[in-house]
């Protein structure tokens, strides 16, 4: 299955990755190969198998509504590339 350039562009946009034209060409080949590889799974007959959404098989794992400790502000912000007055800072985005 060959992915088109448009499909690669769409996936890149959804993943928030800026790709050059060469990269789009390169990845459409690579991604197509990956898809072909994964596609082998389709040869297995799963018509009688329930889908697995959660490997633990547990249900209703819930916690009581109690407040625990949070991180101090400095620690919460320590890996941010830019901070200001206790806020994380990112380049301007428009409010949606």
């Amino acid at each position: 299955m060959k992915l088109t350039a448009d499909q690669v562009k769409k996936v890149a946009k959804l993943a928030n990755l800026p790709l050059s034209d060469e990269e789009i060409e390169k990845y459409s080949g690579q991604l197509s190969k990956i898809l072909d590889y994964i596609d082998q799974l389709n040869s297995a007959d799963t018509s009688e198998v329930e889908p697995t959404f959660n490997v633990t098989g547990l249900s209703n794992v819930l916690r009581e509504d109690k407040v625990g400790e949070s991180l101090p502000q400095e620690e919460a912000l320590q890996n941010a590339s830019q901070v200001k007055d206790g806020f994380f800072v990112t380049k301007g985005v428009f409010e949606e």
Binding site: F53, E64, D65, V67, Q73, T90, V93, E95
Partner: protein
Amino acid sequence: MKYEPVIGLEVHVELNTKSKMFCRCSADYFGKQPNTHTCPVCLGLPGALPFTNKEAIKKCLQIGLALNCKVVDLSRFERKIYFYPDLPKGYQISQYRWPLCVEGWLEVEDKDGKVSKIKINRVHQEEDTGKLSHIGGVTLIDYNRSTVPLVEIVTEPDFTDPSQVKDYAKKLQQIFRYLGVSSADMERGDMRLEANVSVRPAGQKELPNYRVELKNINSFRFMTAAIEYEIKRQIEALEKGEKLTQETRGWNEAKRDTYLQRSKEEAHDYRYFPEPDISELRVKSDELRIKEEIVELPNRKAKRFVADYGISRQNAQVLVDSKELAGYFEEAIKLGREKQLKPQEIANYIVNQKIKLASKDQVLRAVEDLAGKRVGILEDEVKIEKIVAEVIFENPNSVEDYQKGKLNALQALIGGVMRKTQGKVNVEKVRRILESKLQN
């Protein structure tokens, strides 16, 4: 051609749990220092595991049941994927294919008092996002709100008039407050409205092939204005032969119009998939217990007030505005019974005189004031005449003045009667009796 609007509503309400939806950070974020209520879970740090808040699930079920929904047998969370800085994980934990509650309804009233049933598609649990502030070309992010429990309530496109939408939103707010699941303050953003608006030729059964989503509207009044504007805009476009498409629009209160935020080409592709880190929910067995715990809701309470106390439907609706007011009203009825006050009298008094009932003291005072007014009014003409005679006897100067033609001397005599009766007598009646006595 005649057109009719097709409107659906999505309401988000933030729950007032103590801790967040999927971590133990405090959910009380309002007005706190930025990024002081965060942890690896709500910051989306690698390896952190979400842990579901039991109380939030209970509150979500309460909302669903209050809106006449069914609780599903099996519910799951999913990841809704999109890139935006309000979501540190790159996805929001929400529900899509397996919401907790489905197929409810709520009765709403339009501006003419016509009642219709609005179908509710789903009530599901999700998490709130961080708060962004756009200042000077950059965006500041506070993740205190990230992962605060949020419930979304989605209707079918059953509204045909903006006044129904307003009534629905107000009723939801009232229900949230009765249930005690949220303060549902619109200005604070505890409760948020989104409307899907389209129009179709009157009588057409099929839904239009587009819809316009109205977002970020933080008051009932703006919502009504935005929907009204949008209906007009769409009808005008259709009449000009334009084709309408799927898009998201915001409301500009200054200009009082809607503006394009996102068109169909930019529509999101959320690629929902089941959240593998959270166990599934099987809570159908809690349905009955939770249902029994739900307080009497405003609609039922109002109906009971009409049936039990014989008060008018309009008064009942005012008196059930909040659980507290309704409670004080019933207390006033109990107290009033000892003073032979009828519930209708009390209801009229509270509603017409806009009496504030927000404490036991105020209830007591209201009942006593009302009882005093009624008991005190002197109706007995013989008694009034007797008092008038006394006043005439005691004020010979005023009587003389009046008989000489000084008509305002009568006022002094009326004042005398009012003083003797502590004002509990009809002034016109006193004037009439005085005049007839003085003419003799």
